[in-house]
Symmetry: C2
Subunit: 73 residues, 2 copies
Amino acid sequence: MAPNHCNFCHAPNFAGQEQIPRLAGQREDYLLKALRDYKPGARPGYEPTMANVVQPMKDEDFVELAYYLARVK
Amino acid sequence: MAPNHCNFCHAPNFAGQEQIPRLAGQREDYLLKALRDYKPGARPGYEPTMANVVQPMKDEDFVELAYYLARVK
């Protein structure tokens, strides 16, 4: 996960911090939809961070990431 | 929680379903910001459901709800 730097904002254990959501244990379907929708801007975030982060990512990356995060304890 | 009907979409245990997110155990700060931002439309949802649901709610309801959901196991 390191290359995606998710843990920079969402904390090393993906539990989130302050107003940044917990990703660990979130629903895989929801995570995947969110990741996919950030890329074309269909999902507006509070700030452009997520839209920027996902730009270089491919759909297979989203699938793997959602699978992983949904299973982090 | 019954009056708010959160469990209708987010499931009785607030674990979410399909592309609807898990609320149980989510960060309190994040839940509170989301609830507050849905009301004036500052947080756009995928559909107007959440904006509609929160209209009759007061800020103290948001505080109580975020507190509760963050602690549901």
